[in-house]
């Protein structure tokens, strides 16, 4: 392999065969390659074998409480925006075994952990999703008290990012400063140019690992004219988003704890927790302790939890957050305001999922706008 001085100078123009060569090369190095595909009328991220598994010509329509796939009329593989479930499902699994233990000598012994699963390569990570991964790695990343599982899975992963050349219906990443340009945290970055005359994936490397992989594909470098065209399309996507988050008010939402808007949202919100399940940064979990019938073998499982459930805040005597208003307030003020103090950034990346998947179409940007419009109104 030729030595690479600056990985960031390595570019490639991949055609469909080139993309397949990349997928094959990742698989050959032992990665489980995860990418987008269509299942149950939605795009899901799951194990793929080749470009034939990718959602060719599939776009999506997203709006408050609405998600539909549509035929784009072209062959674009990355023509949808974001899948309902992001990469969180893989890096921070919904159900995870924390340990198994066995009764022994009147006490118990913790069994050695199972060997780690194969490393994963993620194909098609959007800018907002990459930002969400960065946010979760700050949540779980603490060396002393962090989650060694998350850190390990991420460190062993290979990230192929894709820039969005079109904005989705509920996206507002531009106003959160997380996209649609992909700037860091990837091994390889792709942008797709799908026209009637040609179909090309412009690639460049963001790490030594990525540069080595790209150079190994022996593809021609990406022509500057194509790269300029791609940049134009991505900035056009940035300008085409219909929603914005009023950043200053969002950040100070914690100061509006008694705002009357909370009661108003409380009347609309079903407290179903959909928003927390699709949000790529929500990290809360609960644990479940189980035993076999003889009580000899025990396991602890960690599962996703939601601050919308009443049990979430339960302490002896009753839950702290009984009213829906309080639970919605907890979710959104944590995400937009407290997160800054806890982890140094907003906890929202503007992916729009919580808007799309809210059955009653509650829109996080609209709720903050309403509080913003009131000034400091209480």
């Amino acid at each position: 392999m030729p030595g690479v001085d600056d990985p960031k100078t390595v570019t490639a123009a991949l055609d469909m065969a080139g993309l397949d060569a990349l997928i094959a090369a990742l698989a050959e190095r032992g990665y489980r390659v995860i990418g987008p595909m269509v299942a149950d009328d939605a795009v899901v991220y799951d194990e793929i074998a080749s470009s034939a598994d990718l959602p060719a010509g599939v776009g999506d329509e997203q709006d408050g409480g609405r998600y539909r796939l549509r035929a784009r009329g072209d062959g674009a593989l990355f023509g949808y925006t974001v899948a309902p479930q992001g990469w969180k499902r893989l890096l921070h699994p919904p159900r995870q075994k924390m340990f198994a233990a066995r009764r022994q000598d009147g006490g118990f012994a913790i069994l050695p952990p199972e060997p780690a699963a194969a490393p994963m390569a993620f194909l098609g990570v959007r800018a907002c999703e990459l930002a969400a991964i960065g946010i979760q790695s700050r949540v779980f990343g603490d060396e002393a008290a962090g989650d060694p599982g998350y850190r390990g899975r991420l460190a062993r992963s290979f990230v192929v990012a894709v820039e969005c050349a079109e904005a989705g219906g509920t996206c507002f990443c531009a106003s959160m400063g997380t996209g649609p340009q992909v700037e860091a945290g990837f091994d390889i970055r792709l942008v797709e140019l799908a026209g009637h005359d040609r179909h090309v994936f412009l690639a460049d490397a963001g790490s030594a690992k990525g540069a080595e992989m790209l150079s190994g594909l022996n593809a021609p470098p990406a022509p500057e004219a194509d790269r300029a065209e791609a940049r134009r399309r991505v900035s056009a996507a940035a300008g085409a988003m219909g929603r914005t988050m009023p950043a200053a008010t969002a950040r100070r939402l914690g100061e509006h704890a008694e705002h009357r808007r909370w009661a108003d949202i409380g009347k609309r919100c079903l407290s179903c927790g959909n928003c927390t399940m699709v949000c790529p940064t929500c990290f809360c979990t609960t644990v479940e302790d189980v035993t076999d019938l003889k009580g000899e073998h025990a396991e602890r499982w960690r599962t996703w939890d939601s601050c919308f459930s009443i049990d979430f805040s339960y302490i002896h005597g009753g839950a702290i957050r009984n009213e829906v208003r309080s639970r919605y307030r907890q979710w959104i003020t944590h995400k937009l305001s407290a997160w800054h103090e806890q982890f140094g950034t907003s906890g929202c990346v503007g992916c729009g999922r919580c808007i799309t998947w809210c059955p009653v179409g509650i829109d996080i940007t609209e709720e903050v706008q309403a509080i913003h419009a009131d000034g400091k109104g209480r």
């Binding site: 924390m98 009764r103 008290a145 939890d305 302490i315 957050r321 009984n322 003020t333 407290a338 806890q342």
Partner: protein
């Protein structure tokens, strides 16, 4: 430093050496690490205690931080895990993760009068700080313990309270919500005791632990009696599943109570305490 290198999510087996019944629903366990060694902690910290196959709960350490040989927990049986723990006997094994959380700042209170205000089982998390204060008795002005229980039968650590009250260098006042024919002591809520205790409000540090409403009223009463907010410390209680900032359950405004608390200086949280259902 081996303790810091352990996976914070894995419980360590501790053998129960002794169980003492404190009240009809409250018991104290003395634990020693099954694998040997001791257990270092600071007064006010808590552990996540695991009952094999049943579950795990946050319980404060109630023993003497100066005695690193055994780990002591005092627990009230209220639900699934704490009841299962209540049925355990000497020789049984529980899992321990910890210690977690912020301590009572006992040393920062050197030179001050020290006032402990406890309600119910809230005396247990304060006991390590009381031991620590009494081990450094000459460093403090007055040492006052104010304690409230529901009824005379619910007075936790009764013998110890009586012993402390017998000392010439400690002031102890106990009150109950409801008396009985044999009770001739104070009846009423703990904050009422504050006015009777003789401490110098201008140089007093107060450590408060009990139900949240009790702590709120106690802090107000201390303030009314001239103690500054920066001299008052409270220990907060929230649902906890991990103890180390990962599960999100204990969040309270911007705080993770498990690692930013449970012990907080009152002036830093007074505004949050005033918000309902936060």
């Amino acid at each position: 430093m081996t303790a810091a290198m352990r996976d914070p999510m894995l419980p360590r087996p501790f053998r129960i050496e002794k169980v003492r019944r404190e009240l009809s629903d409250t018991f104290t366990m003395e634990l020693v690490p099954a694998e040997g060694g001791g257990f270092a902690f600071a007064a006010g910290q808590f552990n996540m205690l695991y009952v094999f196959g049943i579950g795990e709960v946050p319980i404060s350490i109630s023993g003497d931080p100066g005695d690193g040989g055994k780990l002591i927990h005092t627990t009230r049986a209220v639900g699934a895990v704490t009841r299962a723990m209540d049925s355990m006997r000497a020789g049984d094994v529980v899992g321990v993760r910890g210690p977690f959380g912020t301590p009572w700042p006992v040393e920062e209170a050197f030179g001050h009068d020290l006032v402990f205000v406890a309600g119910g089982v809230g005396l247990a998390p304060l006991r390590p700080a009381i031991y620590q204060a009494m081990a450094n008795r000459q460093r403090f002005g007055k040492v006052v313990v104010l304690y409230g229980a529901r009824t005379p039968d619910d007075i936790l650590f009764r013998r110890e309270l009586e012993r402390w009250r017998g000392r010439f260098d400690m002031e102890v006042h106990v009150t109950v919500d409801r008396g009985n024919p044999k009770w001739s002591g104070n009846v009423g809520v703990v904050p009422n005791l504050i006015a009777h205790a003789g401490f110098d409000p201008l140089s007093t540090t107060a450590f408060v632990c009990g139900p949240e409403v009790m702590m709120r009223y106690t802090a107000l009463a201390l303030e009314k009696n001239g103690v500054g907010r920066e001299g008052i410390f409270l220990s907060m209680e929230r649902n906890m599943k991990c103890g180390c900032g990962l599960c999100g359950h204990c969040q309270w405004g911007p705080h993770f109570v498990c690692k930013d608390g449970p012990v907080y200086r009152y002036d830093r949280i007074a505004d949050l305490l005033a918000i309902r259902e936060l």
